[in-house]
């Protein structure tokens, strides 16, 4: 189990008083109570998408306005109370894992879309609007919000900002950081500031860029101004299956080298193909070692042109099968297995860890070979999906949660994979964030001095380390957290 800092005894002792004060700041309303404190009702908040870790918080506050968030932060700051921000609780890295002495600030009731401006191609939304909710609001006018994490039905834009979420289409459209214009940001002192605006590239330090992906370490975001884009005329997918991972990797290189940047370029290995096929019956070739799903955009004629070129390229690498969708329905069928990949693996093994390293794409064959060897050494199955264009690898490690030894092995296996990612020139996390999950591996990627520098930047925003402490930075070497109790 991951180590969490000692709770502050003084805060725990004042629990009732703190809850009463919070109720004064965030009163109940038609949506229910503003503060949750009964143990049974705290249950849903004790974990997030990384459900192996659980810890009920001191209380949960559900503000409905930026002012309430500011009031709660000002109170917590004045009283030395730790806070953990939370969106939909879909973090796969434990970013929203509570602490025993922390107040969880849940933003799900701040779910209004405040403005949609097509002439300027932007939308202003509250932090608790879901990722897909933004696209749903503008889709009938042909627009969309580009980053599309696979949890997009549930995950909230505030959480996306905090984790700089990606998705399957970021090779073309970028990650969250590339699709933002402005934020309403509340500091730990409870000051409300506007970062950026409705324009591009605010002059001065790029606070927008620093806060995006900061995992709740610097402050809380309550409103987000996002760029919305006009969707292409249409899109279509093709499937290409190969005899080996190496040759599939060469096909990926050839595609990028041809000057075509597909809107999505997904890679699945053999175990993943089998799991997805058994689950979704998408017609995936079971004799393949590797499979690509490639999607292009444009008019039907443009799609034909690009898919024709891609088919010719793939044909040079001795494919087992090449299937170009002729209709939107056939595209959906090709995507069906991939989109259900996590569910498919869940059917084979109810418990799995979803890892998230990034590697230089040229290292893929070597990395997959090593993961295969490690899988045998640990005696745990693994299936790999990979955003092949940008090198973001998602190994799904299957284990048995009822067997503590199996869980520890899975954790160790995952850590070994991430170390391997760093060794070959990549990084620990491409889009899920460090959270608690990869916190203790940060020393693999950064030197002690580099971590000290990053911690000092956090301290510039949050000197007492009240904001989402125990995440991102290893506890060792951290004078503030060591003596905070």
């Amino acid at each position: 189990m991951i180590r969490l800092p000692d709770p502050k005894a003084g805060v725990l002792a004042r629990r009732e008083e703190i809850i009463a004060a919070l109720r004064g700041l965030v009163p109940g309303g038609p949506l229910g109570e503003g503060v949750i404190s009964e143990p049974l009702r705290l249950k849903p908040y004790e974990t997030d998408g990384l459900s192996a870790y659980r810890q009920p918080p001191l209380a949960v506050v559900l503000p409905q306005t930026t002012q309430q968030v500011a009031d709660v932060l000002r109170y917590c700051h004045a009283n030395g109370i730790r806070v953990v921000p939370r969106g939909a609780g879909t973090s796969l890295s434990g970013g929203a894992l509570p602490l025993e002495d922390a107040v969880v600030i849940g933003l799900m009731r701040m779910n209004r879309i405040l403005e949609v401006d097509y002439a300027n191609r932007l939308a202003v939304v509250e932090a608790g609007v879901t990722n897909l909710g933004i696209t749903a609001e503008v889709a009938s006018d042909g627009f969309f919000y580009a980053p599309d994490p696979s949890s997009q039905l549930a995950c909230m834009i505030g959480g996306n900002v905090m984790m700089n979420s990606g998705g399957a289409h970021c090779l073309k459209y970028g990650v969250t950081a590339n699709n933002l214009l402005g934020l309403t940001f509340v500091t730990i002192e409870g000051e409300v500031v506007r970062i950026g605006g409705e324009h591009l590239d605010a002059a001065g330090y790029d606070w927008l860029g620093l806060i995006t992906g900061s995992e709740g370490q610097l402050g809380i975001v309550t409103e987000v101004t996002v760029r919305i884009l006009r969707a292409a005329e249409g899109q279509r997918a093709m499937l290409a299956a190969f005899k080996g991972t190496e040759i599939a990797g060469q096909a990926v290189d050839a595609i990028i080298g041809s000057g075509i940047i597909p809107v999505a370029l997904e890679f699945m290995d053999r175990p993943c193909i089998h799991a997805c096929e058994a689950f979704a019956h998408a017609g995936y070739p079971l004799d393949a070692e590797a499979m690509l799903i490639i999607e292009v955009e444009g008019s039907v004629e443009e799609q034909d042109l690009l898919l024709g070129k891609l088919k010719d390229i793939c044909a040079r690498f001795d494919p087992i099968s090449l299937k170009v969708a002729q209709t939107a329905e056939e595209s959906l069928a090709i995507w069906k297995g991939r989109k259900g990949a996590f569910g498919a693996v869940g059917r084979i093994s109810p418990d799995y860890l979803c890892m998230d390293g990034t590697i230089p794409t040229g290292e893929l064959p070597f990395v997959l070979k090593r993961i295969g060897e490690m899988s045998a050494e640990y005696g745990l199955q693994v299936a790999n999906v990979f955003h092949a264009g940008d090198g973001n690898l998602h190994p799904l490690i299957m284990f048995d949660a009822n067997n503590p030894e199996s869980f520890h092995k899975a954790e160790a296996f995952g850590a070994d994979i991430l170390k391997l990612c760093v060794e070959v020139g990549g990084c620990l996390t491409g889009e899920h964030g460090v959270g608690v999950e990869k916190r203790d591996l940060m020393g693999v990627q950064f030197t002690r001095d580099e971590l000290r520098l990053q911690r000092a930047i956090k301290s510039a925003f949050d000197p007492a380390w009240l904001l989402n402490p125990a995440k991102v930075f290893p506890l060792e070497d951290n004078p503030v957290l060591q003596h905070a109790a």
Partner: protein, 394 residues
């Protein structure tokens, strides 16, 4: 310009030079080739530390869309290496040598430090969006890294973003790693002759709101190069078949907004090269130059409110280049117009007395300014890196 110029030829020597200056408490003017010395405020420093001795592409993997170069590598060298593999810098950063009257091209580190992006910013993102990794020297002479050499990375705080656009005040950039992309096989533009700036932005918004992937949207002032106008110019960069198809569709869609015409590949490239360098602005050597960023529909209003005759709108109308007399009065009008429109401004080029006398960037809200001072104290505790470059006394 400051007296002595130090130009170390290795990262270690760069770090040693900063460490020595820190020990002595001696401020340093930080630059690459010094091509944008006239940007922002003048730096008061006896010595200049240049990265021009740190040159060379250190890693280029076209299939991985990644290029690393030492900070002092000249832009043309990077562009030539990319062109050889059919790729390009996504943000289309301008050299602006004409505007700044500099004889030397900008360095890649300088373009990152100033976060300068060209017309493709509207579709492909800014320089800051493509900095995947950075090596830099802090104000104490410590080398640190952020990011890496992969395209997707959320590991730790993103100090790449913090250093990009910090104008050398938070660290001396030693090496950058950039995401790059294949250069388009072909390009073409649609020009729409419009009655005024507001009608022009309407045409640009219509184009950017179309499904055709417009990659540049600028408004050329009337009379530039003897052309009628104003002209709304919309660019498509794609395979040649797609350029033909999409420019045809755009002409149909925009025909109601003004007289439309097709601008073919070579002429389109020349026009956009001019927009990238802000040539249609027509700034004379005596003019001050401002860059204002607002939401696109506010662009025409900003131009009107300043009363300055010379303006060029890019980024769909949201980037407003302005030129006019280098006086505090003109500056105050630009500041007021930018702020009334909810936007941001930069006094981009001006004679030293004006640059030293006025705020060249907007003031930050007090809580943010306080955080900024603490961040500066972390990365440059002695305040020796480009003091006063962005704001007086910082």
């Amino acid at each position: 310009m400051s007296g002595t110029i130090l130009a170390p030829e290795s990262e270690d020597a760069l770090a040693a030079a900063v460490a020595a200056a820190a020990s002595a408490g001696e401020p340093l003017a930080i630059e690459g080739n010094g091509s944008k010395r006239a940007l922002l405020r003048p730096v008061q420093a006896a010595r200049t530390l240049s990265t021009r001795g740190l040159t060379g592409i250190t890693l280029y993997r076209p299939q991985e869309l990644i290029l690393s170069a030492r900070a002092g590598t000249p832009l043309p060298e990077v562009e030539a290496a990319l062109a050889e593999k059919g790729q390009h810098l996504i943000a289309e950063p301008p050299a602006l040598t004409a505007l700044f009257g500099a004889g030397t091209p900008p360095t890649i580190g300088g373009l990152v430090a100033t976060n300068l992006s060209g017309p493709r910013r509207i579709s492909g993102g800014a320089m800051r969006d493509h900095v995947m990794g950075i090596r830099a020297v802090s104000g104490t002479g410590e080398v640190f890294r952020s990011g890496g050499r992969v395209l997707k990375n959320v590991t730790g705080l993103d100090l790449c973003k913090l250093l990009t656009g910090a104008h050398g005040t938070l660290g001396v950039i030693a090496e950058v790693t950039l995401k790059v992309l294949p250069a388009p096989a072909a390009t073409g533009s649609v020009a729409v002759r419009v009655a005024d700036l507001a009608a022009g932005v309407k045409a640009l918004s219509a184009g950017l709101g179309s499904p055709y992937g417009v990659s540049g949207a600028a408004l050329l002032p009337a009379g530039w190069q003897g052309r009628p106008g104003p002209l709304a110019l919309l660019r498509i960069e794609e395979f040649s078949e797609s350029v033909a198809y999409r420019t045809a569709r755009l002409q149909e869609d925009l025909a109601a907004l003004g007289e439309v015409s097709l601008v073919e590949d070579a002429e389109s490239r020349a026009l956009w090269a001019a927009v990238r360098e802000a040539e249609p602005l027509g700034a004379t050597p005596d003019d001050a130059v401002w860059r204002v960023s607002v939401k696109p529909t506010e662009g025409p209003g900003v131009v009107a409110a300043t009363g300055l005759g010379k303006a060029l709108l890019d980024w769909g109308g949201g980037l407003v280049w302005l030129a006019g007399p280098a006086t505090p009065t003109a500056h105050a009008r630009v500041v007021a117009a930018a702020q009334a429109a909810g936007g941001t401004f930069t006094l981009f080029r001006a004679p030293e007395p004006l640059r030293a006398a006025v705020a060249v960037l907007p003031e930050e809200p007090a809580p943010l300014a306080a955080i900024g001072r603490r961040v500066k104290a972390v990365l440059d505790p002695k305040g020796i890196l480009n003091p006063g470059r962005m704001r007086a006394g910082v």
